[in-house]
């Protein structure tokens, strides 16, 4: 009896082993959705399609929350020895992954196909390569990208005697328009000219956009140990924002939470806002009054940072899984899929060839606002990424929030932000640039 039972067990075991050997390579794919729920469903659809087209691979797509949560979960999975084969990671976190030695380079996978990393990056918009490559090595493949945009209420423009076809181009225009757009009744302001989002993360991104527009570089793109806060370009950007609030009074005092900003825009309590191109679909769906989009106005030059996410292969995966991951990544970044995702979400497609497709051309003709976002790409720069990016970003954001509430001057804010950021960057600087021959 016992013999029979153990035999049966052995047979069952060997069948299981056999089926696993024949079955597809199973890989996990962690993906965040920063905007809304419909995107998660669409991503599951895409992965189901991939699995059908590639019977030798079985991708299990796991929705992992926001960008930050995806970072936490990916790190936890790597630590637990079960890394996902692919993760969609906020583009400016990749530097830290590289510093921590947690991410696979793409170069060997590309070279194995007889291509060079240049061929790979050549498919994408040039602005994206800054965050995708570190020291010339590719660690991330761009998947969904964005830039900040100026959204404005066309009706409010008309009402204020402005031409909705002529959005502000320089900061000078921006202030003048904002003054005209601000509507006051007694000591109450019923409509503000401008609102900038003040929530952590998007605040840092917005300030970096203004700093870039002011001629700045914001951070050292080649080495993760430097950030340029106490500089004329950042000081100028902060002073401009402070003036909008306290001098021209065209923007409300205090930190503006992003949902409050969106609501005010939908409700006509503010005429111009700065938001991501990734919010385009969201705003289109919720805004009743006609609105338009434009470039972020410039003081010195037109320049904006990119945002969005890239696909990475975390370390700790077998060669087989890496190859399966690479196949998935190539499929996801092919022009058709990339273009479809772009039309669905509002992110721009990182692959240039996506815009050659007829369905994409048709879409751009129908949605001129998406076209503006695409044109601004020519002026895009990499997204700031340093050692300890989030904390370094927060060092400035806390000071800007204090400034917005009138507790600090712009000069005090940049000084304190620089000091705090330097302290945060010190361990990395000590381990690299200050690690000298003894």
């Amino acid at each position: 009896m016992r013999f029979v039972r153990s035999m049966a067990l052995a047979v069952a075991m060997s069948t299981i082993t056999a089926t696993t050997a024949m079955a597809a390579t199973r890989i996990d794919f962690f993906f965040p959705v920063p905007v809304d729920g419909a995107l998660a469903k669409e991503m599951q659809n895409l992965v189901a399609r991939f699995n059908q087209e590639n019977p030798d691979i079985e991708v299990i797509a796991a929705y992992t929350g926001t960008y930050d949560e995806t970072d936490i979960k990916t790190r936890a999975a790597i630590k637990a020895g079960k890394p996902p084969a692919v993760a969609l990671m906020s583009a400016n976190f990749i530097t830290q992954y590289h510093i921590d030695d947690l991410v696979e380079p793409f170069d060997p996978l590309v070279r194995a196909e007889g291509k060079s990393p240049e061929d790979l990056m050549g498919q994408f918009w040039p602005a994206l390569s800054g965050n995708a490559r570190t020291d010339g090595v590719v660690y991330g493949v761009p998947f969904q990208n964005s830039t900040p945009l100026l959204y404005y209420n066309a009706e409010a423009f008309k009402e204020a005697g402005l031409d909705p076809e002529k959005p502000p181009v320089t900061w000078e225009d921006w202030v003048e328009d904002a003054k005209k757009l601000t509507r006051r009744e007694g000591d109450k302001t019923t409509r503000y000219g401008i609102m900038l989002p003040g929530t952590y993360d998007i605040l840092g991104w917005t300030i970096s956009a203004l700093t870039l527009s002011n001629g700045g570089q914001y951070y050292n793109p080649d080495w993760g140990g430097e950030i340029y806060y106490d500089t004329p370009s950042t000081l100028g950007a902060l002073t401009f924002v402070d003036d909008l609030v306290h001098k021209f009074k065209v923007m409300p005092e205090g930190t503006i939470q992003t949902p409050a900003m969106n609501n005010a825009f939908f409700g006509g309590q503010v005429a111009m806002i700065v938001s991501s191109t990734g919010s385009l679909s969201f705003i289109r769906q919720n805004m009743k009054a006609p609105f338009k989009v434009a470039f972020i106005p410039r003081n010195v030059r037109n320049a904006v940072p990119i945002g969005g996410a890239s696909l990475i292969i975390p370390k700790g995966n077998s060669q087989e899984r890496k190859e399966a991951a690479w196949k998935l990544i190539k499929w996801l970044t092919s022009p058709q899929i990339s273009g479809g995702w772009s039309r669905f979400t509002g992110y721009f497609a990182p692959v240039k060839a996506a815009y050659e497709l007829p369905e994409m051309k048709e879409f751009l003709d129908k949605n001129p606002d998406a076209k503006v976002a695409l044109e601004q790409l020519a002026f895009a720069k990499p997204w700031f990424a340093t050692y300890n990016t989030v904390a370094v970003r927060k060092a400035l954001e806390d000071e800007v929030q204090a400034m917005l509430s009138g507790k600090k001057t712009p000069a005090e804010a940049v000084k304190a932000a620089q000091a705090n950021a330097n302290a945060l960057l010190k361990p990395y600087a000590d381990a690299t640039a200050l690690n000298l021959p003894k």
Binding site: D68, D100, G254, Q257, A260, N263, A391, Q401, S405
Partner: protein, 314 residues
């Protein structure tokens, strides 16, 4: 009833049982008890004690580049105490604790006493007051994001009728923490009221009748009978409330992320930031050790103080 049970297990004075009965009972059931408890103990060990040990280990070690862990002694604590953000978080947490616990408890007692008679109106009012308890904190926070919206939110909409101008409740470092405190009181007072109601049921009506016959006023009866007899309940609720102060941060994360300018950054959020945003597990673990130790000693101290001078029935 269940309420009374929990209390008696936690708060009941140790009743000395004669030695021989104890020994007689001990032999056989002890082994059975061990096996009955083993599965729970195993899980408790795996998911509670091991993480506690792990946190202690992390608190005294440092993770370098590439994830190598080295012994670091009390270095993390030194770094923690040198970090001004930690002290900000600590003082915020203190203000938040004082601001939520005291008003919620007072509200809970007042509401409990007022609504203790089981009339139809009271039953309805109780349901209304307990309603926030059944909502998840995350949902409440999302709701309050709209309530607190400057100018157009529910709060400002009604304040505007009183002639009070739009206020950026969450966007101003001076008001943000108080907005969060208001939310917490709204969310928790009803929950604590449930305990108070249960505690009130246990007070013998004869005591009040006797006091009434003796001519005691309502206020005297409240302060001389109700409140003293509620003490065990209040001690228990106080501990729960303090645990909530340290462990609940959903609303902070949803509404402000600790900002503006760290004004709503409380300890657990600080720990979250250190561990997950800055990858500094050593400092995060040190802060965890400190906050758990503080919470533990506060709980024990408050139970001890309230236990003294407690009145037990029969």
């Amino acid at each position: 009833m269940a309420q009374a049970l929990t209390e008696s297990t936690i708060l009941a004075p140790r009743l000395e049982r004669p030695a021989e009965t104890r020994r007689a009972q001990a032999v056989v059931p002890k082994r059975a008890a061990f096996w009955l408890l083993a599965p729970s103990f195993f899980l408790l060990f795996l998911f509670t004690y091991v993480p506690i040990l792990e946190a202690l280990m992390q608190a005294v070690s440092l993770e370098g580049f590439g994830g190598k862990r080295i012994g670091y002694g009390l270095g993390n604590f030194h770094r923690l105490f040198a970090d001004t953000a930690f002290w900000t978080a600590l003082s915020n947490n203190f203000v938040y604790g004082l601001g939520t616990v005291a008003p919620s408890l007072v509200l809970a007692v007042v509401l409990g006493v007022v609504l203790q008679e089981a009339t139809r109106l009271n039953a309805m009012l109780r349901t209304v007051i307990v309603f926030p308890v059944v909502l998840p904190l995350v949902a409440v926070a999302t709701l309050f994001a709209f309530v607190l919206m400057p100018g157009v939110g529910l709060l400002d909409y009604h304040l505007a009728k009183l002639g009070i101008a739009a206020t950026n409740w969450l966007g101003n470092p001076d008001t943000a923490l108080y907005a969060i405190i208001g939310l917490s009181i709204w969310k928790n007072a009803g929950y604590y009221m449930l305990f108070v109601l249960a505690g009130l049921q246990a007070i013998a009506p004869e005591l009040h009748e006797a006091a009434k016959l003796d001519g005691a006023s309502a206020a005297t009866r409240f302060f001389r009978i109700t409140l003293p007899l509620l003490k065990p309940t209040l001690a228990f609720v106080l501990v729960i409330a303090m645990i909530n102060v340290v462990t609940q941060i959903d609303h902070v994360i949803v509404l402000t992320g600790g900002g503006p300018s760290d004004s709503t950054n409380i300890l657990l959020n600080y720990i979250f930031q250190a561990a997950h945003q800055q990858g500094d597990t050593g400092r995060a673990a040190a802060a965890t050790v400190i906050s758990v130790a503080a919470l533990l000693s506060l709980s024990v101290a408050s139970l001890k103080t309230l236990e003294r001078g407690m009145h037990y029935e029969s």
